[in-house]
């Protein structure tokens, strides 16, 4: 949408762009770092998830403002927690924008999706029966509006007033509607499957560790 409308916000110099990329990468890895060791498979799984969703986003580029990443970030946050959800969001934004166009707006896209991942981790989207569909639908539809608002902030470069910004938001409402409709389709068709895919299965080691721990405490 932004490319077609020619609105881009500030232009970054190569040095600024490098600093931005470094900052985003560092943020992503900091979010991924945890005190406890994670199995290698978990890291590989997250990496493949990031690459897959990035690829889907690039492939769906001809469809304006249909963003599968929004729903993915929401569910990753809900299942894997805020940190990994935010890291997922930052990495997807960076990798997909490498193909689609990288700039100042990448920060805002990453922030938008990361915040949605955090919201997803706080909302009771996952129940014992799996994904709570109604809550997921509501969260994904509202998430679309929130994301579009956050990304719209990228055009503020000191020359645009508040009134102009509101008018700019107003012009984008049909595309927000499309984003919401796209999210609805994703969550209805793929939400349960994707949430199930992300569900962390307890390993044998963790079962034994929990059992030993509880005996020690009892002892």
């Amino acid at each position: 949408m932004f490319q077609a409308m020619g609105v881009h916000g500030p232009t970054l110099s190569p040095l600024a762009s490098l600093f931005l990329d470094t900052f985003l990468l560092a943020t992503a890895f900091w979010l991924l770092a945890k005190p406890t060791k994670r199995p290698v498979l978990d890291s590989l799984f997250l990496a493949s998830l990031v690459l897959s969703v990035s690829l889907i986003r690039v492939v769906m580029q001809p469809l304006p403002n249909i963003q599968p990443v929004t729903v993915a970030a929401l569910l990753v946050g809900a299942q894997l927690g805020a940190r990994r959800g935010a890291a997922f969001a930052v990495l997807v934004a960076m990798i997909s924008n490498f193909f689609m166009g990288h700039g100042w707006w990448t920060v805002f896209q990453a922030a938008g999706w990361a915040s949605i991942a955090v919201f997803g981790s706080r909302l009771p989207l996952i129940t014992v029966h799996g994904l709570h569909m109604r809550r997921a639908i509501l969260a994904s539809v509202l998430g679309a509006l929130w994301f579009d608002l956050v990304v719209s902030l990228s055009i503020l470069d000191g020359t645009i007033g508040f009134g102009e910004f509101l008018i700019y938001l107003g012009h984008g409402l049909p595309f927000d509607l499309l984003h919401m409709a796209g999210n609805l389709v994703f969550v209805v068709w793929l939400g349960s499957w994707f949430a199930g895919l992300l569900e962390e299965k307890t390993t044998l080691d963790e079962v034994e560790f929990a059992a030993v721990n509880s005996h020690v405490i009892d002892g």
Binding site: H8, I167, G170, H171, L173, F175
Partner: protein, 563 residues
């Protein structure tokens, strides 16, 4: 109770399917079935901005633009007969060709002539048989010369020149009188028993006596760019304003405004058909019935800014002045208030020329031309029993419709079966497909409405004293590229930012590339500079929709800034 509700809902869904199927069957216009293409002629460059005329077995077409502005005569079979070129003319000749019958008057005798007005101010009277010049005169030029339609009265031709109206003898072109009015562009003159009427770029409606005395009958805040129409209810003018237009009925005796209707921007040239007036603009085609007063009968969404044609059977045909669109037709066969359809004649792109209709050797012909330099001639097919014709099947569109019907029927089935999960899935996809289909038009209309409700402040673009005076009151484009400013002016007749920019880059010799997106054309580079994109401003106001969807006025100032 739940089953009853589901059955009731099914009764709602099922008719939707059949309604859609019905409209799908009727998607092909009957005009396309009744007419077949016989030949086309490619002029290779230039615009066909005004309707061709037919004379004695010849189709006479004028083309305009920077390469060989000409008047060309073609046979009904499409063979070149003669060509008359005026290389000195300025661009975008649009003054309609006028055929004058042979005759005699007090000022002399003349043969059959084709009268041609050029933007360099020349009026040529040429022989229709061989294209040679019978007489030629020069009128004044201020930026450009003649852009308007002439009116033939007895032995004279009444010509709206650039700054006035003149009467010239058909025998030799000698000026009988000339009176100064206002700057005119495509204004035209209407002859009535009360005198001649013409408008100008300041919105003045002039009344000129047969002796050549001019007075302002009425004034409007806008521009009058067509010959006023003399209706039973009064004089009708379609006044162009910056963001919209008004259709005004004026008392031809005292200039009082009798009625006024608001319409869309960039009005076309209205036509009078018996008691019906057809107007057009960038948003609609409107039908008025004007007897004692004018009443709006019907309106249809359509984008047209030039000529509107009336066929011998009373149908209205108007070109569409957008990059990829078909021609619009209003037929009165099925409904007295008119029914609208689009006809696909195989040439697309900007167009302001109405068709030509003529009858030759027992067949009816229709001739189309537009800014693509293509002339297409169709012949009406003799009525035959219906037969299965192999038509091109639009797989994409039909496939999408099939998918939508499939999801609609799935939704109905799942709803009846109480399967809420699959009902939600199928309905969500249907909803998404509908939004995808309507998004381009929805976003365009939404943006227009938004701009009308919340107009942004505009900044004054300063005039540079180094620019030629001929650029005054014209369309100008400025490019800010890496600290350098390039400006071109003297342009006219462009209806939107995209086409104006394309013309401006052509004048400057700049390379110009654009990409088609779902929401319009995106300018990706100008003169090899792409950077992070381009922004544009129209008269100081930043554009927020794609360039092809932003209308421009004349005069106007467009500025492109590299981001």
């Amino acid at each position: 109770m739940i089953d009853l509700n589901r059955r009731f809902a099914a009764c709602f869904f099922i008719p939707l399917l059949f309604v859609s199927l019905t409209s799908a069957v009727q998607s092909s216009s009957s005009w396309e079935q009744e007419n077949s293409l016989v030949w086309e002629y490619d002029f290779e460059s230039g615009f066909i901005s005004t309707a061709p005329i037919y004379h004695d077995g010849k189709i006479i077409v004028r083309t305009s633009g920077s390469d060989e502005p000409s008047v060309t005569a073609l046979s009904v079979e499409g063979e070149l007969i003669w060509k008359y070129t005026n290389s000195a003319t300025l661009s975008n000749d649009m003054s309609p060709l006028v055929h004058a019958q042979a005759g005699t008057s007090s000022c002399g005798t003349w043969p059959e002539l084709i009268l041609v007005g050029w933007t360099d101010g020349t009026i040529d009277a040429i022989h229709p048989d061989n294209g040679t010049v019978h007489w030629s005169i020069q009128t004044e030029v201020a930026g450009w010369g003649i852009t308007s339609v002439f009116s033939i009265e007895d032995g004279d031709v009444i010509v709206p020149t650039r700054t006035g109206v003149g009467q010239y003898c058909l025998a030799d072109g000698q000026q009988q009188w000339w009176v100064e009015t206002g700057l005119g562009w495509r204004n035209g003159v209407t002859a009535t028993p009360q005198g001649y009427f013409s408008g100008d770029e300041k919105g003045n409606l002039w009344k000129i006596t047969p002796q050549g005395n001019a007075t302002v009958l009425s004034s409007f805040d806008g521009k009058i760019r067509h010959p006023p129409l003399e209706t039973n209810a009064g004089l009708l003018v379609h006044v162009q304003h910056p963001l919209n237009s008004s259709i005004v009925l004026v008392n031809s005796n005292n200039g009082d405004v009798i009625q006024e209707f608001i319409s869309g921007p960039s009005p076309a040239m209205p036509v009078l058909q018996n008691e019906m007036v057809i107007t057009g603009d960038s948003s609609s085609l409107n039908i008025f019935s004007c007897q004692n007063s004018c009443e709006l009968i019907n309106t249809f969404p359509h984008h047209t800014n030039g000529e509107i044609g009336v066929s011998p059977d009373g149908s209205i045909v108007a070109p569409t002045n957008t990059p990829n669109a078909n021609w619009g037709m209003i037929s009165f066969v099925e409904s007295r208030d008119g029914s609208y359809s689009q006809i696909d004649i195989g040439i697309y792109g900007y167009g302001t020329s109405s068709p030509l209709w003529f009858f030759e050797r027992g067949a009816n012909y229709t001739v189309f031309g537009n800014d693509q330099s293509l002339l297409r001639v169709f012949q009406q097919i003799e009525q035959q029993p219906p037969s299965f014709q192999q038509e091109e099947f639009d797989w994409g569109r039909q496939g999408l419709l099939f998918v939508m019907y499939m999801f609609l029927s799935m939704s109905a089935i799942f709803f009846l079966n109480g399967n809420s999960e699959w009902f939600l899935r199928s309905t969500s996809v249907l909803f998404l497909l509908i939004i995808l289909l309507i998004l381009p038009e929805l976003s365009s209309q939404w943006s227009k409405t938004f701009d009308e409700q919340f107009p942004q402040e505009s900044l004054d673009e300063d005039w540079n004293e180094e620019w030629p005076e001929s650029w005054l009151e014209t369309q100008m484009v400025t490019f800010d590229i890496e600290g350098q400013t390039y400006t071109v002016g003297g342009l006219s007749g462009y209806g939107d930012v995209y086409s104006l920019t394309e013309a401006a880059t052509g004048e400057l010799g700049f390379e110009f590339t654009a990409e088609k997106t779902e929401i319009g054309w995106y300018i990706s580079s100008i003169n090899g500079h792409g950077g992070d994109g381009w922004e544009y401003f129209v008269d100081g106001t930043k554009g927020v929709v794609s360039a092809d969807k932003t209308p421009v006025d004349s005069p106007t100032r467009v500025r492109w800034v590299s981001v």
